[in-house]
């Protein structure tokens, strides 16, 4: 029999992930108006993702590090491929059709960018010097730029954030951090002009959603109504009127948290946030106890990126951040994101399990 130890898995993290995924299925069942098919499809995706997790847990940190630049290059080529021969779904060109499966290179990039940056930074001495930081920024911005033109602003932001987290964790000097912030601030006006009209509108809407309650403000308002009308205890599972009467758009995907919050109230929100924090915290503790720098950087970056997903999604649903199309990690309906995340957790578990081998 395999035990958790021989499979290089981490018990507490695995239990928390399973618990969260199961909760996700429960919420999807409600958000899909009790559609068993939808829930079963998601359950199958969860199973596939768990398999990926277990497989990746077996890969040694050394192999991961060695493969990092190659994976990055493959993902980069695939991203370029998307630009030319990609499949357009819902107006965005994000998919590569590989015959058997459709594949979203930007999802692969979510793993490849932090891996590549961690690989890059650990090639030299830490803390990284100016050239090294600049190289890391380039490794981050090039794929992000390719994703923005798909267009997929949400993923691009997550790529930049994951790359920058690695840079931050590497112990980069504070003055470089200041410079980076200044650089992004200086770029902001250009980025604003690069945004499409609807993207600009989303950011403006944030400040006054009621200016156009039936247009651009509709999603925000309806989600806030769903959340606010839940109160402390919520309306009960399957009882959310906002959700079930179709007032919440994208209620199975990006706005699934509004469904959850409507039905389970502030108590449910608190429990879910605590569960997420436990997962993030557990990963950070594991990173903390890992001796080897590449692993530590990657584990920390993956965990913090995971948190950032949560933050952006909840912020967007509750109306404090613009709508950027980031799903709620491990809960939103959809397979690719779950696969990437679970793969990441597999890598974290694997690196942690072999932490002593590095010494």
């Amino acid at each position: 029999m395999f035990s958790g130890r021989t499979l290089h898995l981490d018990g507490p993290l695995l239990i928390a992930l399973l618990f969260l995924s199961a909760l996700g299925l429960v919420v999807i069942f409600s958000a899909s108006d009790q559609d068993w098919d939808v829930m079963m499809r998601q359950a199958i995706r969860l199973g596939v993702s768990l398999v990926a997790m277990v497989v990746l847990a077996q890969v040694s940190p050394e192999t991961l590090r060695r493969l990092s630049p190659h994976l990055f290059l493959i993902a980069l080529v695939a991203l370029l491929g998307v630009l030319f021969v990609g499949v357009t779904v819902k107006g965005a060109q994000r998919w590569l059709d590989l015959g058997l499966v459709r594949f979203q290179p930007s999802e692969l990039m979510k793993l490849a960018v932090p891996m590549a940056v961690a690989w890059l930074l650990t090639r030299g001495r830490l803390p990284p010097g100016f050239t090294m930081v600049l190289a890391a920024v380039m490794v981050t911005l090039v794929p992000a730029g390719l994703v923005v033109v798909q267009p997929d602003l949400g993923t691009a932001i997550m790529l930049i954030v994951s790359g920058m987290i690695v840079v931050f964790l590497s112990g980069i000097r504070w003055r470089y951090i200041m410079m980076l912030f200044a650089g992004f601030a200086a770029l902001a006006p250009f980025l604003w002009l690069r945004l499409d009209g609807y993207q600009q509108q989303r950011i403006l809407t944030l400040f006054d959603p009621f200016a156009d309650p039936l247009g651009s403000g509709y999603q925000i308002i309806q989600a806030q109504i769903a959340i606010g009308s839940a109160g402390l205890w919520g309306k009960g599972w399957l009882e959310g009127s906002q959700s079930h009467l179709e007032f919440i758009p994208e209620r199975s995907t990006d706005f699934i948290f509004a469904v959850f919050a409507e039905e389970f109230g502030l108590i449910g929100v608190l429990m879910l946030v605590v569960l997420y924090l436990f997962i993030v915290g557990r990963c950070l503790v594991m990173a903390y106890h890992t001796r080897e720098t590449y692993s530590r950087l990657l584990m920390g970056a993956l965990a913090l990126t995971f948190f950032f997903y949560l933050f952006v999604n909840l912020g967007m649903v509750s109306g404090i951040l613009p709508i950027v199309g980031v799903p709620l990690p491990l809960v939103s309906y959809g397979g690719t994101s779950m696969l990437t995340l679970m793969a990441g957790f597999g890598m974290i578990m694997g690196m942690h399990a072999r932490r002593r081998l590095m010494t």
């Binding site: 040694s60 050394e62 803390p127 112990g171 959340i227 109160g231 720098t293 920390g300 948190f307």
Partner: protein, 626 residues
């Protein structure tokens, strides 16, 4: 060893990366707390606000329009009812291509250009998610055609609605009036809360007069809707209360007789039960189909109706103003007796009359004259010369006082909207309106019911009823009773009938006898219509000039255009001693009252008593004439 390949910069990395992980963890925790705070604000601090918004979102209050009250005649014949019809409505938001949709619908059921343009105008005005009327009143075939094709026409809905219907059509059009779609000017005057979900309102006639009773009370329904506005379920409901059922004093049967007797001539017939004031018949001719107005009449038809010289929309019985002619002579007779003039005093009629100090000849209708006449024979033969003399003696002050006492020149108080007063001239009136003093010659014109004097057929009928009542006036009324449609409770009498003072102290018996002679004596002007009547009729003919005939001109119907022919008038009540029906008839340009108007009254009265007999036979009574 792998350890050698992986750089482990112990001295720095251990501390720095771990330090950064601590900082990052702290940041993450702070952001998480910020999120929790945000949710606390939404779900606890502002809970009530969002709960209200949520309820508003998916709970909608819908009005349930009440069913409009029925209108029946005195025998229970339905005059106004509600029938279910199908209407075609469109939600523009759900239609991809409006023009294509219109073409499809046109191919299926046919649309008139007027319907299409009215629809487009409404689409402009209304929000895109609201239903807009495309076609009202589909027949069964059209309804079925659309019902099977509805699935191919997204946004097009077929709906069954109750629709006002007047089964007697033009026969009762003027008195009943009609309902029409609530217009913008209606919206300004109507109480919006009482008209929740109601699409039409009474425009004229009884429909307008008793709008409040007929309307009923709207009900309300709380329904749950989804984001697309579809109704999912009813949460609570308070039913609408239907309007009262109104029973009218009218007898459709008599109405029909009067209408047929009038034929295609312009005119009016009003019959009243003198003891109660109940209006048995109110007919105006020509008439129109009130059903045209229910769904909004199209401009073309409306203009055509309005443009006609015959003015079919005008209710002549109430709004027509006519010179009464000789029909007022019985009232003048009362004034004569009251003034102390001996009714037996004879006046010689050579066929004309002149005032002292004046050579102008005032003609009697009979050129050869009546010879010596007294009051009785002057009424019987309608001698103008006798009345010229009396008019001179009485003067306008006395005459207008008496005419007013019998209700001329003032509203009768009948329960129809906007009744006109008509006009009984006085010295003061002429001074104020014409800035002239009263001339003695005008006494003579007034005494034979010409000149400034203007009365409505309703006023004439009331005057006749007052004569029939031997001086007790009545207030004509059309509403017999109201019945609460839910409880079946009779609200009767619907309006308190005002007890009026006796207006005449003198006995009218002599005048009534003279009026009976009009109908039944060999010299009576109305004898042709009184012939072989099983009941005694008291009547008075009248012929009113429409244009002035010059001093030496002849009135010759054959050479004068029809619209300048004399108006024919007739008043009567029967049985003369115990009257049950009083009637006034006006036939515009009908020529002589005796020939044109009196036969109509006779037909109505015959039918009235025939029905009385039938009813009495059923009840086993033998004598219905008193």
């Amino acid at each position: 060893m792998a350890a050698n390949k992986l750089p482990t910069d112990r001295t720095f990395a251990d501390d720095a990366v771990r330090g950064r992980i601590r900082i990052a963890a702290g940041l993450a925790l702070t952001l998480a707390l910020a999120l929790v705070w945000r949710f606390y604000v939404l779900q606890v601090s502002e809970y009530e606000r969002y709960q209200t918004l949520s309820l508003d979102n998916h709970i909608r209050i819908q009005a349930l329009p009440p069913v409009r009250g029925l209108v029946l005649d005195r025998n229970g014949v339905v005059l106004a009812q509600n029938t279910a019809v199908h209407i075609l409505q469109v939600v523009p938001e759900k239609v991809d291509d409006l023009d294509a949709m219109l073409q499809q619908v046109d191919a299926l059921v046919g649309l008139t250009p007027a319907e299409v343009s009215a629809f487009r105008a409404r689409v402009e005005k209304q929000p895109a998610f609201e239903k807009v009327l495309l076609k009202a009143k589909l027949d069964d075939v059209q309804t079925a055609t659309l019902a099977v094709n509805e699935y191919r026409l997204p946004g097009v809905t077929l709906e069954a609605v109750l629709h006002r219907d007047y089964p007697e059509g033009s026969l009762t059009a003027h008195v009943l009036g009609y309902v029409g779609r609530i217009s913008e000017s209606d919206q300004a005057t109507l109480d919006a809360s009482a008209y929740q979900g109601v699409r039409s309102t009474g425009k004229i006639g009884i429909e307008k007069q008793y709008e409040g009773a007929l309307l009923g009370r709207s009900g309300f329904e709380q329904v749950e809707i989804d984001a697309h506005g579809r109704t999912l379920r009813t949460i609570s409901r308070s039913s609408a209360a239907p309007g009262h059922t109104l029973s009218l004093t009218l007898d459709v049967d008599l109405q029909r007789v009067a209408r047929e007797a009038l034929g295609n001539r312009r005119g009016a017939v009003v019959a009243i039960a003198p003891s109660t004031g109940e209006v048995l018949t109110i007919v105006s001719s020509p008439s129109f189909d009130p059903n045209l107005f229910v769904d909004g009449i199209d401009q073309e038809t409306y203009d055509a109706l309005r443009g006609l010289d015959d003015r079919p929309l005008l209710n002549r019985a109430l709004y027509g103003r006519y010179a009464p002619g000789s029909t007022i002579k019985p009232v003048i007779a009362e004034a004569i007796i009251d003034a102390g003039i001996d009714p037996q005093e004879q006046v010689y009629c050579p066929g004309w009359y002149t005032l002292p100090d004046n050579t102008r000849r005032y003609r009697c209708w009979r050129k050869t004259g009546h010879g010596p006449v007294n009051l009785y024979s002057a009424i019987e033969q309608s001698c103008d010369v006798y009345f010229y003399e009396m008019g001179r003696r009485l003067g306008i002050d006395v005459m207008s006082d008496w005419l007013s006492r019998f209700g001329l020149g003032q509203i009768t108080g009948v329960d129809l909207p906007q009744e006109p007063t008509g006009l009984v001239p006085t010295r003061q009136w002429k001074r104020a309106n014409r800035n002239e003093s009263w001339y003695p010659g005008e006494d003579l014109i007034t005494v034979i019911g010409q000149g400034f004097l203007m009365v409505t057929p309703m006023q004439l009928a009331r005057m006749t009823a007052t004569l029939a009542n031997r001086g007790f006036p009545v207030q004509p009324r059309i509403l017999l009773s109201k019945e609460d449609s839910l409880s079946g409770e009779e609200i009767s009498p619907a309006q308190p009938v005002e007890k009026l003072e006796r207006v005449v102290d003198t006995s009218l018996d002599m005048v009534v006898a003279a009026m009976t002679a009009v109908m039944h004596s060999p010299r009576g002007t109305g004898r042709a219509s009184g012939r072989r009547s099983p009941y005694q009729i008291a009547g008075k003919t009248g012929t009113a000039q429409v244009i002035a005939i010059g001093q030496d001109e002849e009135y010759d119907e054959s050479v004068i255009p029809e619209k300048y022919h004399d108006h024919a008038l007739f008043i009567a009540f029967a049985p003369a001693d115990k009257p049950q029906i009083a009637i006034a008839v006006v036939v515009e340009n009908g020529g002589s009252g005796a020939k044109a108007a009196a036969p109509i009254a006779r037909k109505v009265m015959d039918r009235f008593f025939q029905k009385q007999l039938q009813r009495a036979a059923l009840k086993g009574k033998s004598n219905v004439f008193g």
